[in-house]
C-alpha cells in the first residue's frame, strides 16, 4: 500500500536554509546538504528544496547546492524556485533533482507546465500553489464552521508578494489538466504560524484532482499532519521549522500517523 509521505522542506536563500513567518522575517537554519542528509537518516520520505529568493546568488550556485544535496541523500529530491523554461528544468534534473516544482513562471506562462510534462513526463512536474484566503480572515471565530463552498483562496506568486486574482482551486484543476503530476499546496495564512494546516483548502483541492497533493504551511504538531491527510485528503505532508528546530522529529510525526491508522514507511536501520 502506498505510504503517506513526511517531507521536510528546505527553503534556501543565499545558499543557506532559512525560515520565515508568512514568507518574511527569515532566520538561518543551516547548510542544505547537511540538513538533507540528517533528515534522510531520520526517516524523511523525500526532501523539498525551494530557492525562495529571486536567486540573487545565481543559478550556478543553486545547481551546485542541488547536486551536493542529491549526492548526500538517497531519497527523492524535489527542487523549486525560479525555473522558467524547459531548459532550466532540464538543468535542475541533471543536477540531481527527481522532480521540479513550478510556481510563478507557471502562472505567467501556463503552457510551460505542458511543455515540461511533454519533455520529462508529468510525474516530474510539480506545480506549487501559494494560496491565501479571501473574504474571511484566518482569525474569524466562525471560520471553522464555514462550508467549503463558502471559502475561497486566491493564488499569490513571487514568494507571496504578488496577488494574481486566480482562484486557487480553479488554478489547481487547470494545472493538472495541463500536465502537473503533483501539487504542493501552501497556505500563506498559515505558513510559519504553527496554527495547523488549512485543511479546508487542502480538501477543496484534493477532492477535485487525481494527482497527489502535498500539504504545506502551518504544521505545529503531529496531530496537524494527521489532520492534513484525514481531513484535507493530502497524500503527503511538508513542514520546515518544526523539524529544523527539533520541536518534533520525523519519527514523532510518523508514530502519530501510524496510531491514526495511516500507512507509513518505517526506516531501515542502516546503510549497507
Amino acid at each position: 500500500m502506498l505510504r503517506r509521505r513526511v517531507i521536510p522542506c528546505l527553503d534556501v536563500n543565499g545558499g543557506r536554509v532559512v525560515k520565515g513567518t508568512r514568507f518574511v522575517d527569515l532566520t538561518d537554519e543551516g547548510d542544505p546538504p547537511q540538513l538533507a542528509a540528517r533528515y534522510a537518516a531520520e526517516g524523511a520520505d523525500e526532501i523539498v528544496f525551494l530557492d525562495i529568493g529571486a536567486a540573487p546568488e545565481g543559478r550556478g550556485t543553486l545547481l551546485e547546492i542541488v547536486e551536493r544535496t542529491a549526492r548526500r541523500a538517497f531519497i527523492p529530491l524535489t527542487v523549486g524556485g525560479g525555473v522558467r523554461s524547459v531548459e532550466e528544468m532540464r538543468d535542475v534534473l541533471r543536477a540531481g533533482a527527481d522532480k521540479v516544482s513550478l510556481n510563478t513562471a507557471a502562472v505567467a506562462d501556463p503552457d510551460l507546465i505542458a511543455r515540461c510534462a511533454a519533455r520529462f513526463g508529468r510525474q516530474a512536474v510539480v506545480v506549487a500553489i501559494d494560496a491565501r484566503r479571501v473574504g474571511v480572515t484566518d482569525d474569524d471565530p466562525g471560520q471553522a464552521e464555514l462550508e467549503i463552498r463558502d471559502a475561497a483562496w486566491e493564488v499569490l506568486v513571487r514568494g507571496g508578494r504578488d496577488v494574481t486574482g486566480l482562484d486557487a482551486v480553479a488554478w489547481a484543476e487547470r494545472a493538472v489538466a495541463l500536465g502537473a503530476g503533483e501539487l504542493l499546496v501552501t497556505s500563506i495564512d498559515r505558513d510559519g504560524t504553527q496554527a495547523g494546516f488549512d485543511t479546508a483548502l487542502l480538501r477543496a483541492i484534493s477532492s477535485r484532482v487525481r494527482v497527489p497533493v502535498i500539504a504545506s504551511g502551518g504544521a505545529a504538531g503531529p496531530a496537524d499532519f494527521v489532520a492534513a491527510i484525514v481531513e484535507g485528503g493530502a497524500d503527503a505532508v511538508l513542514a520546515a521549522s518544526i523539524f529544523h528546530r527539533r520541536i518534533h522529529s520525523i519519527a514523532d510525526v510518523k508514530a502519530a500517523m501510524a496510531a491514526a491508522g495511516l500507512p507509513i514507511r518505517l526506516v531501515p536501520a542502516s546503510v549497507p
Binding site: L2, I75, D98, R119, F120, E182, V211, P212
Partner: protein, 213 residues
C-alpha cells in the same frame, strides 16, 4: 578485485547524479555513455530514465544506442533497467504507441484503478520468489516510485516476474530473466534498502561478467 565497470546510459532523460552516486558508493566504476561505441569495455549496463517512451526512444535512436543496447541484451550480458529502463524492455508502450526494445513479451500500460495518478511515493515491493537482487531485503520492503505506467508481461513471460506492487490494481514492480533485471521503482532514491539492491546488482553482474570472461 577490480571494481565492476558499469556503463550508465545518458540520453538526456532525468537525474543521473543519484544513480551514478549510488553505483559509486557501492564500489562500481561508472562511465556515462552517450553513444553505442562507448559500450566497449563495460561489464554491466544500467538504463535509467523517467517519463514517456517515445521521446526516450527518439533520443536513444539519435545517439545510435538502440541497436547496441538490444545486442547487449540479446548477448545475455548484465542489464538493470530502472523505471523507464524496465518499461523499454517490452515491445510497445500504450502511453504514446512507441515501439520499444521488444526483448520481453508484453506492453507498457497505464496503472489500472489507481486512486492517485501518477503513483508517487513509497510502496511495498512484494516478492514472488527469492533472487540475489533482493538478498538481505525484506519480502515486502518499501521502495520509491514515481510513474503512471508499468510493464505488463504476456502470459509466456510470467516466469520473469520477480515482484508486484499494489496501487489500486496490482502491477509488476521487478523482473528478472537470467542477466536481464528491471525494477519499476527507483533504488537510487530508496534509502538503505535501495543501496543494498544496487550493491546486490553489482555483485550479481560481477559474478556473471567474470564467469563469462
Amino acid at each position: 578485485m577490480s571494481p565492476l565497470r558499469v556503463a550508465l546510459v545518458d540520453y538526456g532523460a532525468g537525474n543521473l547524479v543519484s544513480i551514478g552516486q549510488a553505483l559509486t558508493v557501492v564500489g562500481a566504476e561508472v562511465a556515462l555513455i552517450g553513444d553505442g561505441r562507448d559500450l566497449a569495455g563495460a561489464e554491466a549496463l544500467v538504463v535509467p530514465g523517467v517519463g514517456a517512451a517515445a521521446p526516450a526512444m527518439a533520443r536513444l535512436h539519435e545517439r545510435g544506442l538502440v541497436e547496441p543496447i538490444r545486442r547487449w541484451i540479446v548477448d545475455g550480458r548484465p542489464y538493470l533497467g530502472i523505471c523507464l529502463g524496465l518499461q523499454l524492455l517490452f515491445s510497445a508502450s500504450e502511453e504514446d504507441g512507441a515501439a520499444t526494445f521488444g526483448v520481453l513479451p508484453g506492453r507498457t500500460v497505464e496503472l489500472a484503478d489507481a486512486p492517485t495518478l501518477p503513483h508517487i511515493g513509497w510502496n511495498q515491493v512484494i516478492r514472488r520468489r527469492e533472487h540475489p537482487l533482493f538478498a538481505g531485503i525484506g519480502a515486502a520492503a518499501d521502495f520509491y516510485f514515481v510513474h503512471s505506467y508499468a510493464g505488463r508481461p504476456d502470459p509466456e513471460a510470467a516466469s520473469a516476474v520477480l515482484a508486484d506492487t499494489v496501487h489500486g490494481g496490482s502491477f509488476v514492480s521487478a523482473i528478472a530473466r537470467g542477466p536481464l533485471l528491471g525494477v519499476q521503482f527507483h533504488p537510487e532514491r530508496s534509502g538503505p534498502d535501495g543501496l543494498r539492491l544496487i550493491a546486490n546488482f553489482v555483485a550479481f553482474a560481477r559474478d556473471l561478467a567474470r564467469a563469462a570472461a
